[in-house]
Symmetry: C3
Subunit: 209 residues, 3 copies
């Protein structure tokens, strides 16, 4: 089992928790929890694997589905104790993003892809599962939340891994740095309001009335 | 032609009718009817086949597309005679679900998959086409309707097929039982209000104020 | 490089512009622009390639991603000068559709597919990228805009290419005619209101009250 596969396991568990929290916000039953948790957990990795023509991890190793199911049941039984399930969802999603991006980067590197594809696979693995969760549950996609860093975190983390790899520091060093960059940027955005300038329909220097 | 393939044909026809009904609710033109009908009809099976690295059925056998197109035209010409197109959509969707779940189960078994993947493929084949239809047409996804059994029916049906298969009663017996379980559960939910307990944001035993 | 591949390049550039315009309407930051532009640009072709079991073009040739990124930056810097970004989005989308449909048709023909699959691949390549853009950005999908021709244009164009090909006029003649038919129909719908009769929930001959 390579490092990237271990990361896939961890990302599945944490993304499944976020999916179950989204299901709780939609007031679904227990099977609905498991469905959304599984979709979120394996969605991004499945898109990555289908594009790279690999067999998705969970097809070969169904224990991953069990992990997602257990996470869904845990949330079903305990989520009402949370003060804010949306806040919990955001922070768990940040953790999952920080695990899934290096997982995607690692798989793409192991497949011998060039650096632009490595970047994209990191972003796909990190963002697609959560995007599916939000589209299906009718939440505003976290990807699109104005004034927050999200795709940017995935992009920056994947870029760091690519640069470190090119500098000869591949393997765990690069993937750990990638995870750290993703989480710190996302946490800074959630807790401290870090952001990039957003597009405004009217430029500040030419305000109409 | 194996049994699972026959079921795919039937699922295509009935799902296409539901897609065309959704198109009628969005007041599309005839080509829009055909587009949504085809997306709904082959969506779930295509996701399953792409994940299992098979050629989607309709690529090898375009008669399926013709079936979906004919269903769309039929609905375009006759849907205004229905008392409630939404009610018709729900019941046809129930029938399609009861056909598509065993179709997915049969294909996964024929590919030699283990039981967890068989379960998931039954659920994907049953639910994904309708989910795409609802997301594209801006309907509330049937998958998410509160207080109704939907994914649960697919899950229970697939489980019955897996258990019967493990007990040595594979083939048509298992697939027929699967279809029956799916339809009876879904019909019970639609007509009699059968449901599982849903998650509430505040637990009954600790109501605030 | 075959003709269909050249068309893929052009479609990527123009679809990326439409994706960036949609991002500007959602007031995203620059990385959000690049994300939505890339999704729109390669979405349709990727779905086509995954179904046909080909490696998506951008995996083998990442210059396409650079093209999408440059288009996103251009729009980020200049879109505020547009009088109506939605109008610009509609017309650029019409141009992209007119390029992407023949690209899809060309690839399907090169893969030796039969004509029904060629039709569908033209429609998928043309419509799916824009559909993903609209679903992710919470716009009303152009595919569904009532009283406008959209899927119909893609269908008609692909049909013309198939008929010309069957008549012995394959290659650039068929693809150029396909592009022209798509663009003229779509432009006629946008500028002159061309349309097909849409489905009404109550038939004109039996108005209630």
């Amino acid at each position: 089992m390579t490092g990237a596969v271990l990361l896939d396991y961890a990302a599945v568990a944490v993304f499944a928790l976020t999916g179950a929290l989204a299901a709780s916000r939609s007031q679904l039953d227990i099977v609905g929890f498991i469905f959304i948790a599984s979709l979120t957990a394996v969605g991004g990795g499945t898109v990555r694997d289908v594009i790279l023509d690999r067999v998705p991890l969970w097809v070969g190793d169904p224990v991953l589905l069990l992990v997602a199911g257990v996470a869904a049941v845990l949330v079903f039984l305990t989520a009402h104790r949370l003060e804010s399930r949306y806040r919990a969802l955001e922070w768990l999603d940040a953790a999952a993003l920080a695990i899934a991006v290096p997982a995607g980067v690692g798989v793409a590197l192991a497949e011998g892809m060039g650096w632009p594809v490595v970047l994209v696979m990191g972003m796909i693995t990190g963002c697609m599962g959560g995007l599916m969760r939000d589209v299906v549950c009718n939440e505003v996609p976290l990807v699109l939340k104005q004034g927050e860093l999200y795709v940017t975190c995935a992009f920056a983390g994947a870029l760091v891994a690519v640069v470190l790899g090119a500098a000869g520091m591949g393997g765990w060093v690069a993937l750990t740095a990638c995870a750290a960059v993703v989480f710190v940027l996302r946490a800074g955005s959630l807790a401290l309001g870090w952001r990039l300038p957003v597009y405004h329909s009217r430029p500040p220097r030419a305000p109409k009335r």
